[in-house]
Symmetry: C2
Subunit: 231 residues, 2 copies
Amino acid sequence: MKIKNDILSCRTCVYRQLLFKDLNDFEYKLVNDSRTEMLYKRGEVIKNEGDQVNSFIYLRKGLVKLYKTDSNGKDHILSINRPGDFISLLSIFADEPYRFSIAALEETLVCDVKLDVLQHLIETNGKLAMHLFKKMSQISDEIIENQFEQAQKQVKGRVAHLLLYFANHVYHKNEFYLPLTRREMGELISITTENTIRTFSEYRKDGIIDQQGKTIKILDYDRLVAINKGG
Amino acid sequence: MKIKNDILSCRTCVYRQLLFKDLNDFEYKLVNDSRTEMLYKRGEVIKNEGDQVNSFIYLRKGLVKLYKTDSNGKDHILSINRPGDFISLLSIFADEPYRFSIAALEETLVCDVKLDVLQHLIETNGKLAMHLFKKMSQISDEIIENQFEQAQKQVKGRVAHLLLYFANHVYHKNEFYLPLTRREMGELISITTENTIRTFSEYRKDGIIDQQGKTIKILDYDRLVAINKGG
DNA sequence: TTTTAAGTATGCTATAAATCATCTATTTTT
DNA sequence: AAAAATAGATGATTTATAGCATACTTAAAA
């Protein structure tokens, strides 16, 4: 991890309006001055389960996984997050240490705002509070929706769902470099590494996807949608 | 459903301090005056997926299920909620219709506060906003924790987890009347009705639980904890 | 009260998925 | 650059779970 000194201003941040659009100049300066930026390389752990929560973090660049390790040492990925996702927003007000770990899946730029600054702003700026509530509701809706989708699907359907998720909600195109190992994909959709690999092989054989290493291309989108629906 | 006219005052509500403890007399009156109370019988649907969200609802008495129906007509229960749980709190600010249905599992008394009143209070009372944020974070932590537990368990572990959940977090004792059918339990932990019944039979045979109809008694708590841990 | 429907219970069978084993390819580390 | 570790691939086997069938019981509806 490398702390950046030449940090960018919130004023020029593309994500500013996602969160801080309702701040006046004074409030905005408060955020900007209490802020640090950190750069993480692929594989680096940003937060560890059990760490104290004393800041609100969000991504300006990169991709991360939120995960937990079970009693057998097996990891379970809760979600994959990219800029604009406001990782940890849901959890930071619970007065509890982090209940999951966060690691970078590619070079990731993290913006860190002290929690007491955010808390002060919430208590004094009702518009910001409502904005945050709305964001939290949307995130939780996604979690619930995802849980529901998972519950009704088995291996083939889950892999299809995963591919469609990355195509539609992360990369917004049908060809993308996905910096996840097959094991990590399995950890995300709760199936074994072998079955993840096997299903990819099958989809390749059936001409549903093309794949060169970690670059995936969806060839037959409709078929994938059908598999996703069917289970 | 029956609208109650002899509604109780928020002032005497045991759940008041869970949410509205930071209100002054004027604010408190706002809430109290915009409030309606409704009584639902077992089986009645309180909200339907797709319904417009225009109020914050919470339970004063009873037990409900939050659920969604999939494309095959199969229900999936997202959570079971009791008074104090603030059902729907997470979702109400998303500006979207309900993404799940809510139904009463036993006679349930629902308190309904207009959303615009709550929204106005949030924007003007920072303490209330922070209080709500904290509550939302706690709820989402529970959802995440539950998802994590589910993912690593199979049938026997899931049933054990379910029993421990009701014993520890809902009824706070080892003997309780659980107004859920075996099918509903299966819908909650994503296993078939047959496997739910089979596992109950097995636990009965092994002396882990005793069971008369819907009354369940945990006889060997430690064994259940061990099964829960083991998977 | 009788009829119908829904819930509980169990055995059997089919199927899906995990586990185990082995091999090759690709990264990472030294 | 060589060695070691990790990732990807695939077949064979075992295990877990779903699905189907059927009987009995309890609750709801006519």
